[in-house]
């Protein structure tokens, strides 16, 4: 049955195929890029979660005497224009960036699946919904997000809402595309023939089959949302300035580029490695779960 569930299952660990460690090793050998991505991501997440244990400094404590100190043993990433430790700020900043990225990925996936399945299943809904999505996609993403934040106020929560609004149409398109082909398949026809209602068909037969593309698209949304949050914060329309995020650390450091390049360089480097890691995971998942999607995503 259900081809998609089987393909999601392609990455599932089963105890009869060896221990979990053997499973991880086998997968890692199969796709080293993805393994590297997972490793980097785990490291960054651990740093963000255990931030207070990892950094010796308070990320918001001002220390005027230590202004713009270059990287040293005491301050690995140097200090910024008010003497705050850039390493501590980067570690804490990861909390905001990762929280925004994962929240947007989850919200987008939920909204995209809900809207996409209905649009794909009911042709009449489809026409209207997809025109609205087209209109949304015609707006420049960053400007729309900034405008929403300007209206709603600069809080982390509103950044998540704004970026989700911008990212959802693409997810809807992916889900809808999958559903359009699924609803013509025999097993859906068979379910209809034995009297299953539309809601049951959507939940039992269609929903599980959309999981692989949704998970893959969600990883790309995760990566994209981190970049968008950074751009928003850099432009001064993202997370509030008193909470360090990778974007606003760099935004605040840009004035001091000539004297203290480290204030912008290191947070950006960590951000790039994180996004790179997520993209590696996304590419790996796509190749592993559903290679046919290679041309689409």
């Amino acid at each position: 049955m259900v081809a998609g569930a089987a393909t999601v299952g392609a990455l599932r660990w089963r105890s009869r195929a060896g221990t979990f460690a053997q499973f991880v090793l086998r997968e890692a050998r199969r796709n080293p890029n993805m393994a590297a991505g997972v490793a980097i991501l785990l490291l960054v997440v651990t740093m963000a979660v255990f931030a207070p244990l990892i950094s010796r400094y308070d990320p918001v404590a001002l220390k005027a005497i230590d202004r713009l100190k270059p990287p040293s043993a005491a301050h690995w990433f140097g200090t910024d224009h008010v003497g705050r430790d850039v390493y501590a700020r980067t570690v804490y900043g990861g909390r905001i960036s990762l929280a925004v990225g994962s929240a947007v990925a989850i919200i987008t996936a939920l909204a995209g699946v809900a809207i996409g399945i209905f649009a794909g299943y009911y042709r009449r809904v489809d026409n209207i919904v997809m025109r609205v999505m087209d209109a949304f996609m015609a707006f420049p993403a960053l400007i729309l997000a900034m405008a929403l934040i300007a209206l709603l106020g600069s809080t982390v929560q509103n950044v998540i809402i704004a970026v989700s609004v911008v990212e959802t149409p693409r997810m809807v398109r992916v889900v809808r595309g999958v559903v359009l082909s699924l609803r013509e398949r025999e097993f859906v026809g068979a379910a209809r023939a034995i009297g299953a209602g539309p809601l049951r068909i959507m939940r039992v037969h269609i929903l599980p089959n959309t999981m692989a593309p949704v998970i893959i698209q969600a990883t790309f949304v995760f990566a994209g949302a981190i970049l968008t949050e950074a751009s928003l914060s850099f432009l001064g329309a993202g997370s509030p300035p008193y909470i360090p995020s990778w974007g606003n650390i760099m935004g605040q450091g840009r004035t001091y580029l000539q004297m203290a390049v480290w204030v912008t360089f290191f947070p950006g480097l960590v951000l790039m490695l994180t996004v790179l890691a997520i993209n590696f995971v996304g590419d790996g998942l796509r190749d592993r779960l559903d290679p046919r999607l290679r041309s689409v995503m």
Binding site: L144, A230, V275
Partner: protein, 313 residues
Amino acid sequence: MTGYIARRLLALVPVLALVGVLAFLLLHATPSDPAAIMAGDLASREQYEQIRSAMGLDRPFFVQMGLWFKQVLQGDLGTSIFSGKSVVTLMAPRLQATVSLTIYGEFLAILMGLSLGILAAWKARTWVDRAAMAFSIVGYSMPIFWLGFNLIWLFALKLPLFPVIGYVPFSEGFLPFVRALTLPALTCALVLSALIVRMTRSSMLEVLSEDYIRTARAKGLRERTVIVTHALKAAANPILTIVGLQLATMVTGVIVVETVFAIPGLGRLVVDAITRRDFPVIQGMLIAVAVVYVLVNLIIDLAYSVADPRIRY
């Protein structure tokens, strides 16, 4: 062809109408009071009322919507609350910087993206291919402003080859104009070419396995002729799509780059409007960019048949 263009233009009407509704709702259906946001905390009751009526917010909802559409259809994108000038007047002098940056950036991106992509497909599964792919994935994992900073630091501060920031208008001479625009354009191009490399490679790989490529090689054509004339032409459409979409969405990418390099373009206009809560300007820009986006998409579709004569409309 003419019939097709007419049908496509007609199909744009509902999308554009929706774009208009959404841009309108942005201001009028969100749970905040734009007049209050714009007036600020220190405004008196009268000032607040004044702004409210200046924005037309005291009128009934559908009257507001009707007036908004009438105004947009007449080519009036609204009036800035901050400067009192019309949005179109504000946009006009900034067009040159943004359009120059877009064209220059996309030109460099195509140059880098095409050559790397072709090279990667031609030398598939060698270190050249892997290097090109690494370039690509790093390119779109980077925050564009961070790349801009690093380029400024390297090519303007450490090696003073280019000015750090700023824009020199075309009227002050071609060379200074190009020199000031090179770093910003390169910043855009490095990120934009990432996708072009990927697309070119996969599209070329597909074509290179076709029979007629084998035939072309078999009849003794030079490898260069096979790749450039036979393969690239057939692989052009997906690449064209990416380039077109990039051109259409460039204003967004350019916002950040214009901020980094302090270029007085449309991107700066939006950012300033947002910090000043100048909502008519934001709305006007949203509409303008959306219209450009939709039209560019249409032009891409038409360009397909030029690049690939098998496609007929």
